[in-house]
Each structure stands twice: as C-alpha cells, then as structure tokens.
C-alpha cells in the first residue's frame, strides 16, 4: 500500500522574492528522485502539501504549469509557522511535497471556449499555471480568446512581473493589469478589478470565467460577472480552507459533503450555490 501521507523529497533549485513587501517568495523545486518525477502528473489548479520536517505541512497551489518539465513552482505567502520556515530555507535544501492534490481547473470544459481569468493579489499562483499552460504552443489552440485581469494593491505586489511584461507583448492574450495605488514608474491602469471588468466587458457567450483573489475582490467582482450574464456553471473559483491531510480524511476542509482538498479546490458557483456558506 502506498502511504499518501509520506512526502517525496524535492530540492530547492531557486528561490526568489516576488513582491516589494517581501512577504511572497517563489520556490522552484526539482525532483530528487527520477521515479518521482516520472509519476508526477498534474493539471493547473492542483496543489501540493509542502513539508518541512520539524515544522509541519501547509498546502500551496502549483504555480508552474505542467509544460515546465523537471520542476515545480510555489509562491509562498509568509503568514504562519510553515510558511515562515519556507521563507528562510536556502537554495540546495531539501523540501518534502505530497501531491498533486485536488481536482484542478476543468480544462476539458474550457476546451474550445474563450477564457476570462480574473486574479487579485497573491491568489494569482494557480492562475499563472493555467495561463502559462494555454500559452504554450502545444496547448494554445485548446481555448480561443484569453483575457486576463490581474489586480494588486500596488505595483510592487504583482506577482511574476517579468512574465507579465512578456505576456503583454503577445497578441494571443489580452492582459490587463491594474493597481489600487500606482507609483511613479507605474504606467498601467489604476482602478479596482470589478471596475476594470465592467469596462472591458468581455462577452459571456461561450466564455468560462475563473476568479481567484481576496474575498473582498470576489464579493464585488462576482455580481459584475452575473451582470455580464455569465451563468454560475461557467464561473469557477479556487477555494482556500485550513487543511491538513489534503486527501479527504482529516475532515477540516469540508463544505457540506464536499472536501476542498479532494473535491476542490476548484468549484463552480453553481456548485457553491448548493452548499452551506462554510468558507
């Protein structure tokens, strides 16, 4: 029997501080064992439990995309015991992971449709995975138009800024970044995500929307999607809840009869509508 609680060893290849507040750090991990690498298959939206022996485990969405072979990326928000340890860990060190866990984004359902991606703050990690996946030449034809709205409080808090610049240059993706407060170097938009959405108003016909961000952003953006006539079946979000086991045993991440770790973290609003508001 395979023990799903045992982490597999990874090596921290590269670590990079992402944001000006230094609270977000991206870790690039490579597999220590070839066999682990071979058997690790994931889709955007899935997550892993990162494990530091002596400190514990915490769940993180996979920020890299499946086409980036040989390594996995995670962006860690420094908040608790494990995340602080993950901020201090040095390149070359070993980290345990368990995964891939969870359902991931419904890429089968997205096939042949337009995609609207709305992200806020540091919840952009698995959205990055999703976008990078579709921008790869192998996958670009799987969806039609890709529209991305990504907002942060300040320019320095946007994740993956080098990559955003590259995406902006491409013509097979429409990327709009926006900040609540600009600075002297900021030449992009200043404004809140819901307003930007209203302004660029993509068609909801044959479009799937994915929205991840702080609760306050979701609260004000969701009604705009409804106003644009996105049906709940085609609006998706990735939920975060306190998790431990990641495999539907330990109990704590349930919303109704579903577990965020196992049946999620990606849910459609049509699904969430039927569940208690325990999130």
């Amino acid at each position: 029997m395979k023990n799903p609680y045992l982490p597999i060893p990874m090596i921290l290849k590269k670590a990079q501080t992402e944001t000006s507040d230094r609270l977000l750090r991206t870790l690039e991990l490579s597999f220590k064992n070839k066999e682990d690498e071979k058997s690790f298959h994931f889709i955007p939206g899935q997550f892993c439990e990162l494990s530091i022996l002596g400190k514990g485990e915490a769940p993180f969405g996979i920020a890299s995309s499946p086409i980036e072979k040989g390594s996995l990326k995670f962006t860690i928000n420094k908040a608790g015991v494990v995340t602080t340890a993950l901020h201090h860990i040095e390149e070359g060190s070993e980290i345990g992971i368990r995964g891939p866990l969870g359902n991931g984004y419904p890429i089968d359902l997205f096939a042949g449709k337009d995609l609207l991606v709305i992200g806020g703050g540091f919840a952009f990690t698995t959205l990055r995975s999703l976008i990078a996946y579709y921008l790869h030449p192998e996958n670009r034809t799987k969806v039609k138009q890709i529209t991305v709205i990504y907002g942060a409080r300040m320019p320095g808090l946007l994740l993956y800024r080098d990559e955003l610049l590259e995406w902006e240059k491409r013509n097979d993706i429409k990327l709009v970044t926006t900040v609540d407060w600009g600075d002297k170097d900021w030449k992009g938009r200043v404004g809140l995500v819901p307003n930007v959405l209203e302004e660029i108003a993509p068609s909801s016909e044959n479009t799937c929307a994915v929205i991840c961000g702080p609760p306050i952003m979701i609260k004000f953006t969701f009604p705009k999607l409804v106003a644009l006539r996105f049906p709940n079946e085609r609006i998706f979000t990735s939920l975060e809840k306190r998790m431990k086991c990641g495999i539907g045993k330990c109990g704590r991440c349930n919303i109704g009869h579903l577990y965020v770790c196992k049946d999620g973290p990606v849910f459609s609003y049509a699904q969430l509508e039927k569940l208690p508001k325990d999130y």
């Binding site: 029997m1 395979k2 023990n3 799903p4 609680y5 045992l6 982490p7 060893p9 530091i52 022996l53 002596g54 400190k55 514990g56 485990e57 908040a79 608790g80 995340t83 860990i89 040095e90 060190s93 070993e94 980290i95 345990g96 609760p215 975060e240 809840k241 306190r242 431990k244 086991c245 495999i247 539907g248 045993k249 330990c250 109990g251 704590r252 349930n254 109704g256 009869h257 196992k262 208690p276 325990d278 999130y279």
Partner: protein
C-alpha cells in the same frame, strides 16, 4: 457449530491471546471509566461497562499516533513511516455499535482514491470479537441507526454473556480460524436458547425510536434554518462528544521535534473547537457555535449520508452521557424532524 467459553477458562483464553497477538480490550482506568487499550495481563480486561468512555475506534485510529519519524529535521530529513504493525491483533469485547462505527470510518479511510494506511493496516490485521449488549442503557438508540444490541455485522467472532459462560459464534473466515481454540467447548442446545432469550430481551430494551430515517432529506432544507440559532446555545465548545464518538474521525497533524529528531503525529481533533477551522489569516469560516454545531450534526446526518448512504451515528449514546451540559442528540433529531407550522417554534433545551 455451537461453541461456548466457560468463564473459568476466560483467564487462560486471554493469556493465550496475549501471547500470540496484540490484544485490545476494554480496561478500567479508574472506577467507572473504561477505555480500549492494549492488554498486557488478563485481569486488566473488564467487560462490565456497557458503554466505555472511549470507543473501540482507538484500536484502529488511536487518539495520538506517530505517522513517521525522522532523525534530522529541516532540510535533509528522511521520513520513516510507522504504518506497519508488529503483530496480528485481536479486538475483544467491542459492542456492536462500536464495530459498526469502524466500518463507517473505514468508508472514509479506506476510500478508493487514497487509503489511510495506518487505519487500513490495523484493520486488515485485526480479528474482531464482538460482545452482545445484555444491558443496553436508556441512552442507547442503536436500533434507530441500523444496528441493534446483538448486531453481528463486522464481528469475526461474537460472544454473548450467558452468566456462567460466553456463547461463541464464529462468523467469518478470520473467526473460523479459532475453531480449534482449546478453550472453546461445544455448547448445549439450551445455551443457544438462553442466548436467544438474552438477545430478545436486550433488543426489546432499545425501544425508543429516534427519527433517523429520512433525516438527510429533512436537513437538506434546514441549512439556514433558525433551528441552528438556538440549538447551539448551551454547547460550551469542548471536545467530549466528538472525541468519545465512535464514528468521529477528524484529526490534526503536527510535527514534534526536539534536537533534530522528530516525528509527525496525528491527534484526534474536533469540529467544535474554534481553532479547528481557524485560518492563518484570522478568518474563521465557522466563526460561532452555530456553525460548529451545525457542522457536527450535518456531518453525521446529512454530509456523510450523501457520500456513503448511511448516517454516521451508531446510537451508542456517549455524546449524551458524557456531555457536560446535556446536549442530547436524540432530542436534536426529534426537534429537527418535528413538523412545525408558522409561529410555532417548538422546544429544544
């Protein structure tokens, strides 16, 4: 084949089990307080308490369990798993409700997608000797949750206390392996009659019907019911009902390390603790007793049934007996099931 175990042979029978197996059975920690634990000496076994405080789930899912150990913390630690158990096990003296509960937990822990190896390994290597309940308590309602004081489901062997002897039934292949046990003697037809008489009498005693049937559908309509605003009021938010519940299976995982050596441990956890669902950001999706009490009851009578087709309650009554404020799950079910018109609030204490 009808067998029995004379009471005078019990000590030697237990001695034999202890030698060959790891034996788990109820033992008294102090007068009136029994738990299931690993038995070292026959005289530790105490089968007199109808409902032990801690349930038999502990033989498969201990309150605290090391998942793996490591010699070096931090960056280069190698985790060594602890799921393998040393010896075959016997669980003796578990009551039908507790045994039923093990299969309820099993549906979660032995699910097809991921198997909880710690639980599965123990379950695979354990022979269960069930014990009929001659004297069910007034708080027992196993017959309403699909069981009964002499429900043999899940037992490999089943004992009935006849006074001078235990009537012994071998029910499964694992049970049949005990056919040759030298302490099992052939039973007389009158032993069988006595067993049936005891069984009937006990079954009649669990007579109160608690409205469990259809509860899942009723609760579907009650997610936002004012019912929850009142029912949680007296709950003080301790973990008694969930820890002592034979079907509750939530756990927490933490690392414990001293001087580089350490272990990852899981401990029972409770959805009634505020910290259970508290997120690092400070957000708590179940901020008050209302949501937490709802979670406890909904999990047992709505969420679990949705996933596995039966309620996650076996009617053992522990949560009623040991609750510091007498939250009575039976009354909660009655209340949830009562037809109430407008303006008629019903009563729940």
């Amino acid at each position: 084949m009808k067998l029995k175990l004379n009471k005078k042979d019990v000590e030697n029978f237990l001695k034999g089990l202890i030698e060959e197996y790891d034996l788990y059975a109820p033992a008294q920690l102090t007068e009136g307080v029994s738990v299931f634990k690993k038995i070292d000496r026959p005289e530790e076994v105490n089968l007199t308490q109808p409902v032990t405080q801690k349930p038999a789930k502990e033989a498969f899912f201990p309150q605290s369990e090391v998942m793996f150990r490591y010699e070096e913390t931090g960056n280069r630690g190698q985790a060594v798993s602890t799921e393998q158990i040393r010896k075959e096990r016997i669980l003796l003296g578990a009551r039908p409700c507790d045994i039923e509960a093990i299969s309820i937990i099993g549906k979660v822990f032995e699910a097809e997608d991921y198997t909880d190896v710690y639980f599965a390994e123990k379950r695979k290597r354990t022979t269960i000797i069930g014990l009929g309940c001659n004297h069910p308590l007034s708080t027992c309602f196993c017959s309403s949750t699909g069981g009964g004081p002499f429900n043999r489901a899940g037992s490999d062997l089943f004992f009935t206390d006849l006074g001078e002897a235990y009537f012994v039934e071998l029910l499964t292949e694992k049970g049949m392996a005990f056919r040759e046990n030298k302490f099992f003697k052939e039973a007389d037809p009158k032993d069988l009659d006595l067993m049936k008489e005891i069984e009937n009498k006990a079954s009649q005693k669990v007579d109160r019907t608690i409205p469990v049937e259809g509860i899942e559908k009723r609760l579907d309509l009650m997610v936002e019911s004012p019912f929850w605003d009142r029912i949680h009021e007296k709950c003080i938010g301790c973990g008694v009902c969930t820890f002592l519940c034979p079907t509750c299976h939530c756990f927490d995982m933490t690392d414990e390390a001293v001087n580089q050596k350490g272990q990852r441990v899981r401990n029972w956890d409770s959805c009634l603790f505020p910290i259970y669902s508290l997120e690092t950001s400070g957000h708590n999706p179940r901020p008050t007793g209302r949501e937490r009490t709802r979670q406890r009851l909904m999990h047992k009578f709505n969420y679990y049934p949705k996933n596995f087709g039966r309620v996650a309650c076996v009617g053992c009554g522990r949560c009623i007996l040991y609750c510091p404020v007498q939250f009575d799950i039976r009354e909660a079910l009655v209340y949830a099931s009562a037809k109430r018109g407008k303006g008629q609030k019903g009563k729940f204490k």
